[in-house]
Amino acid sequence: MIPRVDGSSSVGRTGSARRVLPAVVASMLITSLAVAAHRPSKEDGPAAQLSKAPRSAQSLQNPFAGQSEAAAAGHKLFEQHCAQCHGSDARGLEHAADLHSAPIRDAPPGVLFWALRNGRVRKGMPSWSQLPDQQIWQVVTYLKALK
């Protein structure tokens, strides 16, 4: 047995190894289960989501409307937060919506703001409420500038 600083022996080390092994196995099992559980949800289409916006959202004014600087900042934020699902060109990947589509292009800015802030958690679209309102408006400005 190898004496150790804390007075324990290599038996303690073996005991530690015995506890590490189940932990590693459990981590693999949990990761597998979680990955298996995740299936990208079928998108009902952006029109369905946007139609749920309250009337009050339609009248919200974008404080950055038409500002190219805000659109550039929105593009940067889009790359950081949105492009992994919607693609760098915003055309949509897998089940995520094409952000060039007519329902999004024609939606009032306030409705897009509402959609970003609330997300669609059950369908896989996260809520971006942790972003300050200004940054959400910058993303809306970018979406409105998409050609």
């Binding site: 150790r4 804390d6 979680a34 990955v35 900042a73 059950r122 996260p126 300050p132």
Partner: protein, 295 residues
Amino acid sequence: MATRGQGIRRLLVAGLAYLICAGFPSFLKADKPYFVTYDAQMEEPGNLEVAFYPVLGLPQTGQRFWGAWMELEYGAKGWWTTEFYLDGQSTRGESSLFTGYRWENRFRPLAGQHWINPVLYLEFEDINGADKTLLEVVNHDSVNDLAVPNHQARTERLREVEAKLILSSNYKGWNISENFIGEKNLSNVPWEFGYAVGVSRPLALAASSRPCSFCRENFHAGVEFYGGLGTWYQFGFSGTSQYVGPLVTWELPNGTTFKIEPTFGLNRNSLRALIRFGFSYEIPRFDRVVRRWFR
């Protein structure tokens, strides 16, 4: 020949260097701003976040220690985030050891945004008494518990379930989060309670148009309070330990997030000071990566 403790330290340094230097793509999401308090932010579906959190303990009596946990956080669904933790610690003049693991799940019951957004949290942990991560403070946990030598403390096995009610609000760039904690040892021990409260805000609300590391919007500042609330039979602040910690978070454009929080004990039962560090990065759409492996 390197001792076991040196080996662990080298491994930690190598891990940190990897996190800092890894050239991950820029489309990565911000980590949660706090160390102990949870907000309502869920992991994005399919994303995997890998994080490492060392904590330096500076007790008024007894030996200094490093506690650390490694965290794997996965977004299983938009409403379900699952996390797995591996805990360890190293106490000066004693030893370094693995102290156990935790598996936690967070569920978001309500869709959409509300003034107060609730999240339900459920965790199982299998750790030993030498654990010094101080991931939460409950019951009458005190600095004396941390002074027990490792070779004694490690013999105590703690199999516990922990439930939290997480309430979180976002208002004008501020995040305000409150956690109510209930923990139950699976042996015949009463429920133990604790709390955590955090407030934070980015230094700038609007983003700049150019990519930058030192833009103000990349920094969050805040403060969190946490402590014990006694047990089912002795509920209250009496005899509990309480902490306050100002914190700063820095998100680099390459997706790596750094956090630091000097924490101070507010009464005699608390540690004099703790310094918490955090490093994390996120692997976007990890589910796609895994599916590619099995194709």
